[in-house]
Amino acid sequence: MTTRKTDVLIVGAGPAGLSSAIALKRRGVARVTVVDREPEAGGMPRLCHHTGFGVWDFHRLYTGPTYARRYTQLAKALGVEIRTETTIVGWENAHTLAYTSPEGTGALHADAILLATGVRERPRAARLVPGYRPRGIFTTGSLQRFVDEHHLPVGQRAVIVGAEGVSLSTFLTLQKAGVHVAAFLTDLPHHQMYFPYAPGKWWFVDLLHRTPIRTNVRISRILGLKRVEGVEITHTGTGQREIIPCDTVVFTGDWIPEHEVARKGNLVMDTGTRGPQVDAAFRTSEAGVFAAGNLLRGAETAATSAQEGRFAAQSIAAYLQGQPWPERRIPVVLEPPLLWALPNSLAPSDAHQPGKMDFRVGQFVENATVEVRQGRRVLHTQRFRRLLPNETMHLSGGWVAKINASGGAITLRLSD
């Protein structure tokens, strides 16, 4: 096994990894290497054959594949080394990652490492949905690969589990594949699909309006021995059951960070996001190792991930120039129904960079007040007319300056 050296090694050539590589090059870092296990760079947008990309970062409306290509071309033009079909399999030491590729195995050593490995969706099994294991069970991601990447047949009649933004994208993909959608299912009391702006596509919007959206139900069983024959749904309030015949089920949303590399490196993980714990400068628990993008907390828009990549590049550059690694962090602790916050730890030095703090809740809450405390000291309260699940909310960050750098954990909770 050969070991090569580079200045910054980035794992994952999605929007976060590529935008960070570009920013690092622009800041004059000599050797930036991005590796990705897929045959092509670009990350998840490569598979999203619809528009909705690029408005924030390129001021244009692109499809996913075009957006992915733009980032890839830009990175290449700036001299970023991109290695595809290269899978990171583990750590040789704190700054050296081992890989396998068609050219053989090897290791890459870098002064700084950025993990930007994205997310995956929780498949059926991880959601503990009982029943048989027939063909015809998908997630959004696998469906996109079936339809847009490999042009494979899907089915005739589908049930979509989830009723949020990404479920809508699934609806679109199913339409394209000629699959009728029997229903959307959500265990929440309201759906969260904001019907799209689709000029000249009234037929589509109309179709969507005529598709049943079943709220307050959960999928309780999958029927069919060889191929899906239906799903059993259970009303969360009454316990009443019903069977919806279908030959296809698509599980949407419910993201989990693709954290294999991070966990193999024994980075401290956050129990809320299930991604590596980071501070406001995208620094993980390991000196010289950074993380950005969906790996941090599940799926956001590509622009959000790309922006994080650029911010991470700032801190990486500062680290390369000798900025010391924080010696301690103050953990951020949440009380339910708050699910996670990002950053999920704060370094005392972060007290000087008030940004914002992202967070999510697990249910709808009307007229909520979020309270930030350190010990008994209330640092900040902020009112929200409505907190929505499946959507990221933002706390303004001026309070970070009030943190006691040698104090205990920061607590986020809803106050009554």
Binding site: V89, A125, L128, P130, R135, H150, L152
Partner: protein
């Protein structure tokens, strides 16, 4: 291919394939008949994958004896054939005072069964071996021999060796009827196809009682006993070092927590009698009960992600022992009721059944040469292709990862499709390579794999995806001289 076989074996699970392999040492024409599209698709693919010592078997039973014999035979075989195993040892934990007091009798039983290295250990020793176990253990029984084995590779290895030594395998060949004609067993399969054989072995697992009825016997009835299991993410593997066994009850070996040779952790099985021999569905109640048991034994386990859930059916009968019977006049051996230890006992059963057949007059004349076969490694204990520079240098496809979660390469997938018993379904590929078995459950790679499989085998993707409703799989006859399957011929 002969028109009349010396012997036909119904069922290509661990038991039937082991018998076929054992008999292929001799100058015999053997037909192995399997209802499903691949070998090892019945109970053999859905169990807890423990290579049992038999320490807790009922002394004096055939099961106890054959497990012991099989253990010794497997020790050589797994090395020769490259079957993934891990010799971790089992730790039976007593969680109550009552359980603690049964340990001496379990120890005595182990000794009676010839498993002499078992010993009782204190609570301190339990926690020294397994620091992550929940508090409250009274003590335990350490069983050094209890090990892990790959139940996917094993029947394929047996069947491949049988084929290499001249046996014929017929897949998609459910035996629907057995009759006697001119001193021969005539087995009728799909579309009226028949197979004639002088001797017959019934290794039909859950359906062994029904085949037995066709031969006029009513010695036992199979009641499927469902066992549901949860497979945890590979990150759970660091939580345990041994097979964590409960104190068994007369009804079941109980819920255990065990690593797998693929680096995951299993929690299960449940035990529930059903009346439907096809009901391999998981249930909300079953999964819930497993979560509770898992939390009580190894609390940290529940913080890890679930990779898969599945259920297997034990071929339980009203009897406490294997139902292996020779009907010498009929030249027929029934191998039924191989309830919860058949993977481990397979080689012992095979040797025993060969002996019974010899008693009934089947001539066992050894062949000049017995061909062996080494299986591709899908276990974590030995290097996998993506870790081997020499293999990647020979063929870059061994460095081309297709299934990222399990690190399965294009090279391994192509090998499996073109192996002596070729993978022709997604499930067959899954069991040969681990592809699609990982934490994303094929959500990243399934489309790519369907593509490769359809291309390499010339099958329609609709068939692979079970979208073609009317599709009836055609019988497929495989022999070693002819890797390329002949469809629809008998």
């Amino acid at each position: 291919m002969p028109t009349t076989y010396d012997i036909a074996i119904i069922g290509a699970g661990a038991v039937g394939t082991a018998i076929a392999r054992e008999l292929s040492r001799y100058q015999l024409d053997i037909a192995l008949l399997e209802a499903k599209a691949d070998v090892g698709m019945g109970t053999t693919k859905a169990n807890t994958a423990i290579w049992h010592t038999g320490f807790d078997a009922k002394p004096g039973t055939l099961e106890a004896r054959l497990l012991r014999r099989s253990y010794a035979l497997l020790e050589d075989y797994v090395e020769q054939a490259g079957i993934p195993t891990e010799r971790l040892g089992g730790l039976l934990v007593a969680w109550t005072k009552e359980q603690y007091h049964t340990l001496p009798s379990l120890l005595e039983r182990a000794h009676t069964n010839g498993v002499t290295d078992v010993r009782i250990i204190s609570a301190e020793e339990v926690y020294a071996l397994e620091p992550n176990l929940n508090r409250g253990a009274w003590g335990g029984l350490f069983v050094p021999g209890e090990s892990l084995i790959c139940p996917f590779t094993l029947p394929i290895a047996y069947a491949t060796e049988a084929l290499l030594n001249g046996a014929t395998l017929k897949l998609n060949f459910p035996v629907q009827n057995v009759r006697q004609e001119n001193g021969l067993h005539v087995l009728t399969g799909p579309g009226g196809q028949t197979v004639r054989a002088r001797y017959l072995v019934n290794a039909a697992g859950l359906y062994s009682d029904e085949i037995d009825h066709m031969l006029g016997h009513h010695d036992f009835t199979v009641t499927p006993r469902r066992g549901e299991l949860i497979v945890y993410d590979k990150f759970a593997r660091r939580l345990i070092n041994h097979v964590i066994l409960p104190v068994p009850t007369p009804v079941t070996k109980g819920v255990l927590i065990s690593p797998t040779v693929y680096g995951n952790v299993l929690l299960g099985p449940t035990a529930e009698d059903l009346d439907d021999k096809t009901n391999t569905a998981t249930s909300a109640i079953g999964l819930q009960s497993l979560l509770e048991k898992g939390r009580a034994i190894l609390p940290d386990l529940l913080n890890e992600e679930v990779t898969a859930t599945y259920a297997g059916l034990r071929a339980a009968t009203e009897h406490k022992d294997y139902q292996i019977r020779l009907h010498a006049a009929q030249r027929y051996v029934c191998v039924g009721g191989i309830r919860s230890t058949g993977v481990s006992a397979s080689l012992g059963i095979a040797e025993y059944v060969a002996g019974l057949l010899a008693k009934a007059g089947l001539p066992l004349r050894p062949k000049g040469e017995f061909k062996t076969h080494r299986m591709p490694n899908i276990g974590e204990a030995r290097p996998r292709p993506h870790q081997q520079d020499d293999r990647i240098a020979q063929n870059p496809d061994y460095g081309r990862v297709v299934c990222h979660c399990e690190k399965v390469t294009a090279g391994e997938i192509l090998d499996a499709i073109h192996s002596p018993i070729p993978a022709r379904t997604l499930d067959a590929l899954r069991r040969r390579t681990r592809a699609m078995q990982g934490r994303c459950q094929g959500f990243n790679c399934q489309a790519a794999i369907v593509d490769i499989l359809a291309r390499e085998t010339g099958q329609n993707p609709e068939v692979l995806l079970a979208l073609d409703r009317g599709h009836m799989p055609k019988p497929l006859t495989l022999t070693a001289t002819d890797h390329h399957a002949e469809e629809g011929q008998s």
